[in-house]
Subunit: 237 residues, 2 copies
Amino acid sequence: MSTNGTLTPFSHTCIIERDIIEGGFAVNEKEISLAVIKRLPRYYRYLGELREKGVERISSKELSEQMQVTASQIRQDFNNFGGFGQQGYGYNVKYLYEEIGKILGLDRNYRVIIVGAGNLGQALSNYSDFAKRGFLIEAIFDVKPELIGKKVGHLTVWDASLMEEYVTAGKCDIAALTLPKENAPAIAAKLVSWGIKAIWNFAPTDLNVPDHVVVENVHLAESLMRISYNLTEKLKR
Amino acid sequence: MSTNGTLTPFSHTCIIERDIIEGGFAVNEKEISLAVIKRLPRYYRYLGELREKGVERISSKELSEQMQVTASQIRQDFNNFGGFGQQGYGYNVKYLYEEIGKILGLDRNYRVIIVGAGNLGQALSNYSDFAKRGFLIEAIFDVKPELIGKKVGHLTVWDASLMEEYVTAGKCDIAALTLPKENAPAIAAKLVSWGIKAIWNFAPTDLNVPDHVVVENVHLAESLMRISYNLTEKLKR
């Protein structure tokens, strides 16, 4: 391994990245730190754009300039997956894109349902970008009579009473919860009992689900609070 | 300072938190680590709920059980802000809620505009929760003739050509970008030149803005990729 791309044992040290120190436990050298995992979707997005432009090879220096990450950070990150590149020769864009896609589990499709057909639920069903990545939104449910039967993109809003049969039949992997926070914990518990594997939670509340269920929260109010915090900090200077 | 709640100098060590090591630079003891800042919105949410229920005092043990964070983590976090509590007496909920609110910059209002009146833009304008926190959505803009003039909650969609005058007049602090990624960088550059202070970016692209402008990204596709990654990891076990 070259000095430029030394594999840091994440269990014993912290990676210093601009003004953040991040790291993760490593049970063995093959386990990848959470900090690296967090960066993978961004690499994947950039490599996808390069691929669309027909770029076949890219050096860590060029990628570094485009992504505003240091070249040594990029080399270090990719070394976690065996390097992907040859010294002085750059990375094969298509190969790297596909390998990172595999690590992210994007080499297969996921069936997604949306629980709550309000504006946010409707917005998510209309995102064509998700299908391109393999996240297929196949059904949208609501309890409100005025929404049931409404056309939302290529879907029709179904009565939430049909959800149990749908999920129990194993017809979906991920449920996006775009409903009021008061209803979210109870609906999440039902979805889990029907066998859902993952919940994409937009309700501003924490969900207590068993360990085998993946929960990913999108707490928009907390995102706004990070803005107000940063604005306040900048005013102090 | 008690042994239970020793203030760790974040510049010299990493906080070990479940399976994540996080930390941040500290120029002096008063500067707070990014890891703590990230947890504040969640504390704020829980304390807000306790306050609504009329709870006046809570021990770190009780708060710990509700939030599923260790009591020592809570004590350590709060010690960053001078402690807030007395040994064996618990925390004053209202005081703690207000102090964390001040740190997060929530003791004032922020004027927000929404750029892009599609489903997501409409969803954001209808979130009553944001106004409660002091984020007042005061205008929504679009370029599409079929959307201009449309009623969205308490607002009417305005022609995007009016945006320059609105932002230049200092009528808003934060712009939420809910428009296609192709248009986002150019619109962001214009908003910055008109004096916007913060951008809440929902477009799946990175924005290059000067240091004095706050950018907060909500990359939904990356959030989905964290789900697929975690589902894939669980399948391996």
